[in-house]
């Protein structure tokens, strides 16, 4: 039988939705028994949320002052110690999971599969390579302990309604002192979170300046959408790094992806392949983005974005 340990991602008080997606992935392994581990300074609130996820059999709390911040070097030895007896150890393929899980795999000497997008069996999975241009079926030998990150855009979040027992777990390992958390600058906004938003408005190099991005923020607020950007826009300083969508930014799966002045480089498209509807506005009718857009409009974004906003406002 498969025993799957999932590490919870959270901000100290709220469980990140990526965890619920890992649960759905784990539940796709036939007969899996799912345990969620919560590492925090005080994990009570987050553990209670994890216990409500449908399909979770057990929640383990590991409270330690050193777990106040998600530092991989600190978490990895604890998670590796906890992993004893589990067939699979899963984490989300967010920057948190990407940083942590390979360190755990290294400590365990176990193979890791990155970005699982489909489960075929307990030992056979599918994952993207080459920026999503190849989907590869991969297999490990039965009996191999496996570490994996779950491509969150490929799975729905597990529902609530669970009522798993919560237990405190004692982990006896020495924690390193060589790594010190200094700070995190989270650009807080009232807009929906890019990774979980149902609608995303995004912009590319064509926006030309950070001020011009205001056009998109304004439209996004009208639509209750999150705002994303291409790498070119981020590199040029028009948008913050946490807004980047694509191979090396965020992989998202909104209902609607509405992009302005983005050419459609493969590295960008990797990030939006799972969007339900892609809409592109670009002044170049030959732009590759039109090859995959569900709705395309050739035109000037500076004229179209504000006009669309007016039309939406008028219809309300």
């Amino acid at each position: 039988m498969s025993k799957i340990l999932i590490i919870a991602e959270h901000d100290g008080s709220r469980l990140n939705q990526a965890t619920a997606k890992c649960v759905t992935c784990a539940a796709a392994v036939a007969g899996a028994e799912i345990t969620v581990a919560v590492f925090a300074a005080d994990s009570a609130a987050v553990a209670a949320q994890a216990a409500q996820l449908a399909g979770v059999a057990r929640v383990l709390r590991v409270d330690h002052p050193a777990n106040a911040q998600p530092v991989a070097a600190t978490l990895a030895p604890q998670l590796a110690a906890l992993a004893n007896g589990y067939t699979h150890v899963f984490g989300p393929s967010t920057t948190f999971g990407k940083d942590l899980m390979p360190r755990v795999a290294g400590l365990l000497g176990a193979p890791q599969l990155s970005d699982i997008m489909a489960v075929e069996s307990a030992t056979r999975f599918r994952r993207p390579m080459y920026a999503g241009n190849a989907i590869v079926t991969v297999e490990v030998a039965a009996g191999t302990q496996l570490v994996a990150t779950v491509r969150t855009a490929s799975f729905e979040a597990a529902g609530s309604g669970g009522n798993a027992p919560v237990e405190a777990a004692a982990v006896q390992v020495e924690l390193p002192t060589h790594t010190r958390f200094v700070s995190v600058s989270a650009a807080r906004s009232d807009r929906p979170d890019l990774q979980t938003a149902a609608r995303v408005v995004s912009g590319g190099r064509a926006l030309g300046s950070a001020e011009n991005f205001q056009i998109l923020y304004s439209l996004a607020d009208r639509m209750a959408a999150a705002v994303g950007a291409s790498r070119a826009a981020v590199d040029a300083g028009y948008a913050a790094n946490d807004m980047q969508v694509g191979q090396t930014g965020k992989i998202i799966s909104p209902e609607l992806y509405l992009c302005f002045g983005i050419s459609g480089a493969i590295q960008h498209l990797t990030g939006i392949k799972d969007a339900r509807t892609i809409v592109a506005v670009n002044k170049d009718s030959e732009a590759p983005i039109f090859e995959i857009a569900d709705i395309g409009l050739v035109g000037d974004l500076f004229q179209i974005a504000p006009e669309l906003e007016r039309l939406i406002a008028a219809a309300k």
């Binding site: 990407k98 360190r103 190849a134 297999e139 490990v140 790594t179 958390f181 995959i292 179209i304 939406i312």
Partner: protein, 249 residues
């Protein structure tokens, strides 16, 4: 001597349109342009800048792979690395094995830093640096967009989902690079000539005591599901109507 180890991987150039072989055994690489993994070029650039600032004395580039990889090592030398190590093998090298090799070399060369790319754009694993840090028992600062070295520690700004995170780590340490860390320099022709005279050592896995273990079988490659071209609308009014019809506004 203060040394920096930079791991560079030979990969299909990022501009190449990847095609899956019809028999599903891999992707087409015959006659395809190969380059240094873009993140590894950034890793090398960062190492060279640290050396130029007097914070390091020697930059070593290393690659693990078949004989063709020497082209990329020569490019690394032309960019400014002092010497190169080629761990020659035709085996499929998984991140755990690459990390074991790099661990051996990091200890042998007593490096102050190992800088790797945050991911190789072929396997997109994003594992090797973190595994190396685990095996070595040293700090890791992944997805770096800024690195400052001072007094035996590195202060590294990391690109994380929430924004930017800063860690301070003791050296030696492992750093993996994000795209915005720097812009790699261009190689000049005279440097290519000079690079030919720089030392390039060839080792094999056995001499490092590392086994070419393959734990993950790649059973089948398939092209991704294709999204098809949709409809074109002619103005904002039509776009709005189309969105309304789908219930999206």
């Amino acid at each position: 001597m203060k040394r920096i180890l930079v791991a560079i991987k030979r990969v299909v150039d990022y501009n190449v349109r990847i095609r899956v072989k019809p028999d599903g055994t891999g992707v087409v690489t015959d006659g395809v342009k190969m380059s240094i993994n873009p993140f590894d070029e950034i890793a090398l650039e960062e190492a060279l800048r640290l050396k130029e600032k007097g914070l390091a004395e020697e930059v070593i580039v290393v690659t693990i792979g078949p004989s063709d990889c020497q082209q990329q090592l020569r490019t690394g030398l032309a960019m400014g690395a002092d010497r190169a190590i080629h761990v020659q093998t035709d085996a499929i090298i998984e991140p755990l094995v690459a990390a074991r090799v790099l661990h051996k070399l990091a200890e042998k060369e007593q490096v102050m830093l190992a800088i790797l790319g945050k991911q190789a754009i072929d396997d997109d694993a994003s594992q090797t640096g973190q595994i190396l840090a685990a095996l070595w028992g040293r700090p890791q600062a992944t997805f770096a967009s800024r690195v400052e070295i001072e007094g035996g520690t590195a202060t590294v700004t990391r690109e994380v989902d929430a924004g930017l995170e800063t860690l301070n780590v003791d050296l030696p340490a492992v750093i993996t690079t994000d795209l915005r860390l720097n812009e790699p320099r261009y190689v000049k022709l005279p440097d290519i000539m000079k690079a030919k005279k720089k030392p390039l050592d060839i080792l094999d896995l056995a001499s490092l005591g590392v086994e070419a273990l393959q734990q993950v079988q790649m059973v089948k490659f398939e092209p991704p599901a294709q999204r098809s071209r949709g409809v074109m609308v002619k103005d904002a009014q039509e776009l709005f109507a189309a969105l309304q019809k789908k219930g999206l506004v």
